[in-house]
Amino acid sequence: MPFGRRDANGQPPLEIRDDELLVVDDLKKHFAVTRGIIFQKQIAAVKALDGVSFRVREGETLGVVGESGCGKSTMARCIMRLLEPTSGRVVFRGRDITKLSRADMRPIRREMMMIFQDPYASLNSRKRVGFIVAEALEVHRLGTEAEVKRRVQELLEVVGLNPEHYNRFPHEFSGGQRQRIGVARALAVNPKLIVCDEPVSALDVSVQAQILNLLKDLQEDFGLTYVFIAHDLNVVRHISDRVMVMYLGHAVELADRFTLYEAPKHPYTGALLSAVPIPDPTVGRNRKQIVLEGDVPNPINPPSGCWFHPRCPRFREGHCDVEEPPLYPFGDDHVAACHYPLERWPMSEEEMRMLPQSAVG
């Protein structure tokens, strides 16, 4: 690397295309596990996020799926700078925001907002809805009192709530309505990017459909970009343009939504897909499933080599448990971290027979 080709933080510069709103590069977050009360000593680290990279283009939705504990929320919080990443970079609109001071972050906070899973916990229950939505505006000092009120009522209407309900408290709304309040609050400052952390996971299907439709409409109307986190593969495919699959703090596969669901390369993606119940009794019951054994390992003490190898039906001894797979490219914009990727999907009868007996259901 020639001298001088480093950015302000001493890192080699990233090449960023004009249409890339968010670039995440080798992002890591390790939580210290400490012992002792007075003299805290770090005895281990939880590798909650261990080197994730991806790019999000303006106006698109990047879906993120993975089972609980794989680091999705940690990643969202690092992107938002609600958590300080251990290493790596978050570049927003061409600017590395990883090391920005509080003051320098302030104007940027207005451009990236977050929506949370539990609308109740994320809303201050003692404040009126008008205040909750206005708060974002006030924090950023956008307008006079009358302007703020008008804007808030406008926002309530945009998300499908009655603007007359300006003075109600969160508990007077249903779960779906509370999520709409969360959306209104996120929209208040005209953000460019909204990071949605499981926004519909706690909702019933009919309400979930309402919120998903709303998010799609708003994206169209306001040109929003979403990072949409969920553990439900159906929901993620519905809302996303591209999808990233995470396992134990790693991105294991990333592709456009059709490719990912129709031609997955990583066995973990295959296992996730085949575990999703299909609401059609004739289709669901006749397919063969890849069944994963055991549980997700502990990120304090992750496995050697490929972190998925202890549960992988295609595991090869001496390779997968030794060498960590990089993200191999498979055609346009499709990468997967596997030494022995799936050749076809669904797997052929022959391939199914090659799997250990316990892995087929």
Partner: protein
Amino acid sequence: MALLEVTDLRTYFRTDDGIVKAVDGVSFSIEKGKTLGIVGESGSGKSVTCLTIMGLNSKRTTITSGEALWKGKNLLTMGAREFRDIRGSEIAMIFQDPMTSLNPVHKVGKQLTEAIQLHRDVTKSQARARALELLKAVGIPRPERRIDDYPHQFSGGMRQRVMIAMALVNNPDLLIADEPTTALDVTTQAQILTLMQKLQEEFGSAILVITHDLGVVAEVADEVVVMYAAQVVEKGPVERIFKRPHMPYTWGLLGSLPRLDSVVDRLVQIPGSPPSLLNPPRGCRFHPRCPYVMDVCKADDPALLPVFDDSDHFAACHLDHETKDREAAKLIAGMMAQAS
């Protein structure tokens, strides 16, 4: 005779705000060795239905009527001792949260052996051997090393398995499972559903599974009951419910589901939210949200009637058969067309 025959079950709770009609005229039956799925959104009365059958509501605040015939005997009027003998031996229940049926301060082996000895005359070591067998049957790896662990030492999925082992202690004829996989990740859910089906084959138990997930119902149920606002709005064999649904609420549920086997731009949206059970709407309870609402729907509560050419399939809706068939066909065709 059906194993369990529930007729016109009603469970009303007295509360400070008034009477909550949590279950309001629910009927269904379960045959030996079969799986019945009750599906509906939260608050529709699924859990209370099961708790009532199991006699687990507080006597003081609950008004119950109707019948729940277990092998011909009404559980709702049965004496406490007789009921206790049936519960836990002939009927067992598992919950979404395994800790509701596991005691956190005792080792799982101890809890299992005690449950075994409660209903059977066996020695401690025989009971322990049986406990090991059960842990093995539910897929706990190396059970002899886990049997003396406490519940919190197991992961979520493994704890769910321990609870299932607990429920299977006496080879129940009926296993009631209230959202058994709702708190689990998909891969763990798939493991548990597969396990339940395997155990059903092995033990011949009937299963009553409650879920809000139509996918789960489609995978495991033989018969389906759809609940809305404390009532049954549609019921029948699983393929009939999914291939020829005859009730606008069921259409809404199916259409609002993003699914792996089809691509749609917009999901079907059921407007509004479910009604309060303190004061449900007159007429059909779904009418304020129904896109097909007619005057009659606002006045008369539709009866749950058999579909004209399908006596196993029931729906509660005033729409005429032609419209229902046409709309159902349209919905299914829409999902199929986009499937490829």
